[in-house]
């Protein structure tokens, strides 16, 4: 009976500590959203400040572009490029289609990689262009013609402690510098 009481006490304490059960996680859930959420509608009818969460191979329909992140790889070496000590590489394959009626430009500051998503201010880094021949990376001033589709890769150097989920981000920006909606492609 004494053994039983001890067992019950231990079990109760363990259960009450709210320890994480199998498959549970304290990490940011990184759920896909049901379209754009939490936005506001301006007088001119534009919806701004909303955000959408998506997954790999899900198409984001932004104001001027449709884009889809087809693949994300985490590695130490990509082609001939090796990450420095303490770092690793994240490589994404992205397809972008210009759905507007004017040319659109992309830069290296589009599609940053974000992590610490649960924090008020997430951490982020931009992609860069490594010295790897025959691979089409995102570059500054990449112009996409009307209805044109382009494919490119983005590559990021991050700490080797980076864990999932992280996200690749795209934010709309109007010509009057008004921030539009945000799109997070979660890598879970």
């Amino acid at each position: 009976m004494k053994y039983l009481k001890s067992l019950l006490l231990i079990t109760t304490i363990v259960l009450l500590t709210g320890c994480t059960l199998p498959f549970q996680s304290e990490k940011y859930p990184a759920w896909s959203t049901n379209g754009l959420i939490d936005g506001k509608t301006l007088d001119d009818g534009r919806i701004v400040e909303a955000y959408q969460g998506l997954g790999i191979n899900e198409t984001a329909h932004t104001r001027w572009l449709d884009f889809i992140i087809q693949d994300v790889t985490v590695c130490d070496t990509f082609e001939t490029y090796k990450a420095p000590n303490g770092k690793k590489l994240v490589v994404a394959s992205i397809e972008v289609t210009n759905t507007s009626d004017s040319k659109q430009k992309l830069s290296l500051e589009d599609f940053p990689l974000m992590w610490n998503l649960e924090k008020e201010e997430a951490s982020y880094t931009y992609s860069f262009i490594p010295d790897i021949p025959n691979v089409n990376f995102l570059k500054d001033n990449l112009t996409i013609d009307v209805k044109e589709t382009v494919n490119f890769k983005t590559i990021y150097e991050v700490d080797d402690t980076l864990t999932r989920p992280f996200a690749i981000y795209y934010g709309e920006l109007y010509s009057d510098d008004l921030e539009g909606n945000s799109y997070y492609i979660y890598v879970r």
């Binding site: 039983l4 067992l7 019950l8 079990t11 109760t12 259960l15 009450l16 709210g18 994480t20 059960l21 498959f23 549970q24 996680s25 304290e26 990490k27 940011y28 859930p29 759920w31 896909s32 959203t33 049901n34 959420i37 939490d38 969460g53 649960e118």
Partner: protein, 302 residues
Amino acid sequence: MDKNINGFKIKYGGNIYAGNINGFNYLIKYDNTSLVYNLYFNILGKEDIKDLSKEIKKIDKDITIIYKNNVLSIVGSLREIKDLAKVINPILENITKYLKDKNYKEICKHCKEIKKVYLTDNEGEINYFCDDCYKEFIKIAEYKKNNSKNVKEHTFKGIVGAIIGIIPGILLWLLLSYLKLEPGIAGIFITMGAALGFKHFGKVMKVSGLVISIIIGLLGVLIAHELNCSIYIYNLYKTDFLINLWDAYKSIPYYLSRNNEFKESFTNALSIGLILSIIGIFSSYSLYRQSIYTYQIKRIGE
């Protein structure tokens, strides 16, 4: 008051008096609520007790006196409990004198034979039994006790039974939560269900069964609670997010660490459920005790 009853020897269990007067052992049982007393003698003799009845009714005309199956039984009532000795003493005196005069013999309650008898508690039955019957009772009880030890516990079936047993309690937890009532109350039914389920399928509950059913019961409480929280989170976010119940379950620790209100509600419900489940655990222990045959047969006053 007790010692004023003639020949009084033993007060047992609060409302049973036993004694010996004029060579006859008697037993008085009275009911505190109705103030009705019963006086018994186990005797062998002439069946016709009309004379005795007439004699006793002179003392109290409302008394009932019956001699059947070798038991002389006198039933009467009191105005107040403190009157018991005053009322019963003349009756005792008269009856035992009559029994002696008419050559009645004292017998064993069980075998009905004229033997020396002893006041005995036979599994809650208080009466006078002879030594031979007392030994027979002990022998039968020992046999039952040994038999109970040999009954095999079907552990695997018992586990299945315990798992089935927690399901109604888990559903009750969810229902109470849906009705905005305290769901932890269902903890009682979960642990009770585990115990009953184990016993039903496992046939008997021994120490291992007791431990297993308790653990399954407590896990059942946890499952109910987690399921309830998952449903809560799912309902909260299903409009804006493409999630299912599994996604909600996985995210519970995240919301616990960020939402104080949710954390408070989570901890409270789980605490109440676990505390109340202790009541259900007593049923496990009770079923376990049933599986262990023990007996209480002892002589009183020796």
